[in-house]
């Protein structure tokens, strides 16, 4: 029987590990996101030429995965540890494996493998090449070499590691039910989070008002577009401090509201594609504006290299 770290110790150990490898330790982003990738520390930082290393825990909301707290494996909100290394170092796979050692996994005693899984986020115009890492058959990490983000080719290439913290903790503690995981020495995951799972599942599946949610989506989209349109005319100091980051918050709101509508079951297949397209359009415009604001010259050059891979 394994006796792994508590959930919070797991977080601390991984953060310590990556802090020791020159990562900025960021805090979770304070707008709802569906994945750690969507936090600006990933979506925006992977753009452009500047090297960067960052690690953060990101609570991620996936309304459609909610199960009212009744399923032992599926969650409305789960926790990802997101690591971005830009540029990707040559020994990155070994670095990653060392991080597993750091949380008490003896590599030769487990079946650890890298299985093909190319990640993509259509709402962000982002995709990459990589694997899901399996630990004794359990998916524990998404390992991706980013190729495009916001529709832009990335240079240098960032590597993104996304650890599924909840399931790693359950595995290391040898429990079958996520709610039995010890969060701290004397509190279980269920004690800390069950009510949240129940209520947000109920909200997403049963209570969210589709009309109001759609309206909110439209409002946030409108705000984002208004900001982006205004940026096009901004000059000088106004341009330098123009709130592109605020436009991105609006985009994240759209993405989350879309997920709520999806979970509510009120989106037809065609509408689904349309809504995803609308979010992607904003995300791509934000990516270009973000680069333009930081490096006005090279942004247009980068934008013109946008292409599908061979």
């Amino acid at each position: 029987m394994l006796k792994g770290p508590t959930f919070q110790d797991l977080l601390l150990q991984l953060e310590r590990f990556w802090a020791d490898r020159d990562c900025v330790l960021q805090q979770p982003y304070d707008v709802e996101v569906g994945a750690g990738t969507m936090a600006p520390e990933t979506f925006l930082r992977v753009l452009g030429p500047d090297p960067y290393r960052v690690a953060y825990v990101q609570p991620s909301r996936r309304p459609a995965d909610g199960r009212y707290g009744e399923n032992p494996n599926r969650l409305y909100k789960h926790h990802q540890l997101q690591v971005i290394l830009k540029p990707s170092p040559a020994d990155i796979q070994n670095l990653y494996l060392e991080s597993l050692r750091a949380i008490g996994i003896h590599l030769a005693e487990h079946d650890i493998r890298f299985e093909e899984d190319n990640w993509e986020a259509p709402t962000l115009g982002a995709w990459g090449i990589g694997w899901q890492v399996l630990l004794d058959g359990l998916e524990i990490t998404q390992f991706t070499y980013f190729q495009q983000c916001g529709g832009l080719n990335l240079d240098p290439v960032s590597v993104e590691l996304t650890y599924g913290l909840d399931r790693i903790a359950a595995y290391l503690q040898g429990v079958d039910n996520i709610y039995d995981v010890l969060w701290s020495r004397d509190r279980t995951y269920g004690e800390v989070r069950l009510a949240e799972e129940q209520q947000f599942s109920a909200y997403s599946f049963d209570y969210a008002d589709p009309v109001a949610t759609r309206k909110l989506f439209d409002l946030h989209e409108k705000e984002a577009i208004a900001l982006l349109d205004a940026y096009a005319h901004a000059k000088g100091e106004d341009k330098k401090r123009f709130p592109i980051l605020a436009a991105y918050d609006q985009c994240l709101k759209c993405s989350h509201l879309f997920n709520v509508l999806d979970a509510r079951g009120v989106i037809s297949v065609t509408e689904r594609a349309t809504l995803i397209g609308r979010i992607r359009q904003i995300a791509c415009r934000i990516a270009s504006a973000y680069l333009d604001q930081r490096l006005p010259v090279s942004a247009s050059a980068l934008a013109s290299t946008v292409q599908e891979p061979a």
């Binding site: 394994l2 399923n71 032992p72 494996n73 540029p87 990707s88 040559a90 796979q93 494996l97 003896h106 590599l107 030769a108 005693e109 487990h110 079946d111 650890i112 493998r113 890298f114 299985e115 093909e116 190319n118 990459g128 090449i129 694997w131 630990l135 004794d136 058959g137 359990l138 070499y145 190729q147 080719n153 990335l154 240079d155 240098p156 290439v157 595995y171 040898g174 079958d176 037809s268 297949v269 065609t270 290299t305 891979p309 061979a310």
Partner: protein
């Protein structure tokens, strides 16, 4: 001078390459390297061997030349008279020619050519050391390996490859072939198993390489890995008194997923065996790549075999981990099985209108209406022809239910179970067995080796579904191009041909396509399928037909062409005609006769436009020679006899009758000149031949036959 040889070893060390791509990549590398090495005269007829594992692609050649041979070339220059003056001294022309060739003027000599005497020079191209050439060839060959999807990692302008390259071994004998590739320098050391092997293993030559890697827990050769997997699967199963659920594609997959595959046994709770085995096996193989085990009576046993990438399960943790993951997956599957069946399969129909089949072709709800209509049409016409198993009501019901499972949770989770889940739900909900099996089977066959649907109803729905997709896609301009075939139309067309032939279904392709067209016009998207599109669909189906007849029925391509050129609307009939043709072709009179028919066709084609020479009928009074009269009589007689046999479906007999024409045909060509000077006589002879050709070409167009090489 005999060139010395040395062994070549190349290893491209990568981060994990997707398993399914490794065999193709090693084959490609073999072809590319062989091409370059032989173009450089380094291969000397030897072969290049390649193999691969998740983290490496390997190429080896037992004996590669160490140096290219010198090549001597003769270059002809100006005429002798221009190159040397009357006094025998070289002119400026000779000097500049010598300079251009890089030789002394004194070494020029003369050669005799048909155009007279010319000055020539010998040029020696000195062979270069193999190592120098390899420095250029090897990185180029690696970069040329084609992949389905590539990435860059050293920057946007860097090498594109399937996954990052982290080390390269390149040795010619003991010498390193130095080159840089994507920030990696070639060297002489390989890398062992991630956790069990050393990270720096100097090697010399292919055998040493394979042996040392084996000691470091990497079985570099796929044969070795496959054998280990097969042995351990069998051993563990036998120990439990069970047998492994046969799954060759899975064996192939785990062979390329692991560098040191080891099989372990795991258990699951008996209670999950209540779920249908299709679902249990899919859960085990799809996500987890486990092998299912069967009891002697064929039922599944509550155990599985997992292949791990280690030498053993040291602490027993691995087994427990895999068991836990499987338990969670089974629990999900059981939840879907129960939740999906809270309503009946048909209750999912309205939801299908919300699922897009293809933007221009509308929703699955609309597709179901079209497939139902086409299924009814097929069943009705076969029933009318006396095929009593063709029940219209069953076909209609099966078509109605066929796509319902697409919106169930089970299929959303396990898409590969589409059709199967619908069939299982239909059976559990007590639809007639004929209907449930038809729903289950209607995606079949998914390849040439996949069986066709078990019953006629399933075959009808499968045919209708595939034809509707084919006709719809062609009508909106989605015909496959090159390697792009997103709607798997080639597979669908193969399926149509395979089902028709194996069930020997009488079916007019033209009518079938027209019926599908009527469906697309009557139901949304209300498209018109033009005559041109119908022709394209026919050609597409006939291409697949030729392929199947060649690859699966082993007919010669010219026999296939001959039969299809005569008539191609009914495929079963075409196969019977080809079989007859193949048999009769072996008899003695046949080949020479076929040659004569081909000659007739050539004569007619050269005679100009048909209307310029054809007569309303042969006019016996214009015959000049006996041979003409005899051929005319024989052709009349044999023609009507052969036609009677043909109508009765006795193609062999018909062809045998036609073969008896040989003496008259030979005699005609021996003694009659077709293109007589007198216009009327000439036209009469041409008309005679044209009638003859028409009468004998209803079973096969003999002029398509290619005479056997003598």
């Amino acid at each position: 001078m005999k060139a010395q040889a040395a062994e070549l070893l190349l290893e491209v060390g990568c981060e994990e390459i997707p398993a399914g791509m490794i065999p193709t990549a090693t084959n490609e590398l073999q072809v590319i390297l062989s091409k370059y090495l032989s173009a450089e005269n380094l291969l000397d007829g030897k072969t290049v061997e390649t193999f691969g594992a998740p983290r490496r692609l390997v190429a080896a050649c037992a004996a590669l030349r160490l140096r290219q041979d010198d090549v001597t070339r003769e270059v002809t220059g100006p005429p002798k008279a221009v190159a040397f003056g009357p006094d025998g001294h070289p002119t400026r022309a000779a000097e500049s020619f010598a300079a251009k060739q890089g030789v002394e003027v004194s070494s020029l000599y003369t050669v005799s050519t048909p155009r007279g005497e010319y000055v020539a020079a010998k040029q020696v191209i000195v062979g270069r050391p193999a190592v120098e050439r390899l420095k250029e060839i090897l990185p180029r060959a690696i970069a040329e390996i084609p992949w389905p999807k590539t990435m860059y990692w050293t920057g946007a302008t860097g090498l594109r490859f399937i996954r990052p390259i982290r080390w390269v071994v390149a040795l010619l004998g003991k010498e390193v072939v130095h080159f840089d590739l994507a920030d990696v320098k070639s060297a002489s050391a390989t890398v062992g198993h991630r956790f069990l092997g050393k990270a720096h293993i100097p090697v010399s030559g292919a055998k040493d390489y394979v042996d040392k890697l084996r000691k470091n827990f990497v079985l570099a050769r796929p044969e070795e890995r496959r054998l280990k997997v097969e042995r351990e699967l069998a051993r563990l199963a036998t120990k439990k008194g069970l047998r492994v659920n046969q799954d060759l594609p899975l064996i192939e997959l785990v062979t390329y997923l692991n560098e040191y595959p080891t099989v372990i046994l795991g258990d699951f709770e008996e209670s999950y065996l209540e779920l249908p085995e299709e679902i249990l096996i899919t859960v085990m193989r799809g996500h987890q790549k486990y092998f299912a085990l069967r009891r002697r009576d064929g039922r599944l046993a509550p155990h599985f075999l997992a292949v791990i990438n280690l030498d053993r399960d040291r602490g027993g943790l691995i087994r427990g981990g895999h068991e836990r993951v499987l338990r969670a997956r089974f629990a999900d599957a059981r939840f879907f099985w129960q939740a999906d069946q809270k309503c009946r399969l048909a209750d999912y129909l309205p939801k299908l209108s919300q699922v897009t089949f293809q933007v221009k072709l509308g929703s699955y709800g609309e597709k179901v209406e079209r497939v139902r209509a086409l299924s009814r049409w097929l069943a009705e016409q076969w029933f009318a022809r006396g095929i009593h198993e063709a029940r219209v009501a069953d076909a209609d019901r099966a078509a109605e239910l066929a796509k319902c499972d697409l919106v169930t949770d089970m299929v959303r989770e396990f898409t590969e179970l589409q059709g199967i889940v619908g069939g299982l739900y239909a059976k559990a909900q007590e639809e007639p067995e004929e209907v449930a099996d038809a729903v289950y089977d209607h995606y079949r066959p998914v390849g040439l080796d996949d069986p066709i649907p078990r019953n006629l109803t399933g075959s009808i729905v499968a045919l209708a579904d595939k034809m509707d997709t084919l006709a719809g896609c062609f009508a909106v301009g989605l015909a496959p191009t090159g390697s792009s075939d997103p709607f798997a139309l080639r597979r669908g067309a193969l399926g149509i041909v395979k089902i028709t032939l194996e069930r020997k279904l009488p079916l007019s392709l033209a009518e079938f396509i027209a019926a599908a067209g009527r469906g697309l016009a009557a139901y949304p998207p209300k498209l018109r399928v033009t005559g041109e599109v119908e022709r394209q669909i026919t050609d597409f189906l006939l291409d697949r037909t030729r392929y199947i007849l060649r690859e699966r029925h082993n007919f010669a391509y010219d026999e296939i062409n001959a039969a299809l050129a005569a008539a191609s609307d009914d495929l079963v009939d075409a196969v019977e005609r080809i079989s007859a043709l193949r048999d009769i072709r072996k008899t003695k009179n046949f080949e020479p006769l076929a040659v004569s028919f081909k000659r007739i066709r050539n004569i007619l084609e050269k005679a100009g436009p048909r209307e310029s020479w054809t007569l309303p009928a042969v006019r016996p009074e214009l015959f000049q020679a006996d041979a003409e009269r005899r051929l005319h009589a024989a052709s009349r007689r044999v023609g009507s006899e052969a036609e009677a046999h043909r109508r009765a479906g006795k193609y062999r007999e018909a062809l045998q009758r036609i073969a008896t024409l040989r003496p008259e045909v030979d005699d005609f060509f021996d003694s009659v000149m077709v293109m007589a000077e007198q216009e009327e006589i000439r036209k009469n002879r041409l008309t005679l031949l044209s009638e003859l050709l028409r009468e004998v070409s209803t079973i096969a167009d003999f002029s398509e036959l290619v005479p056997a090489a003598s």
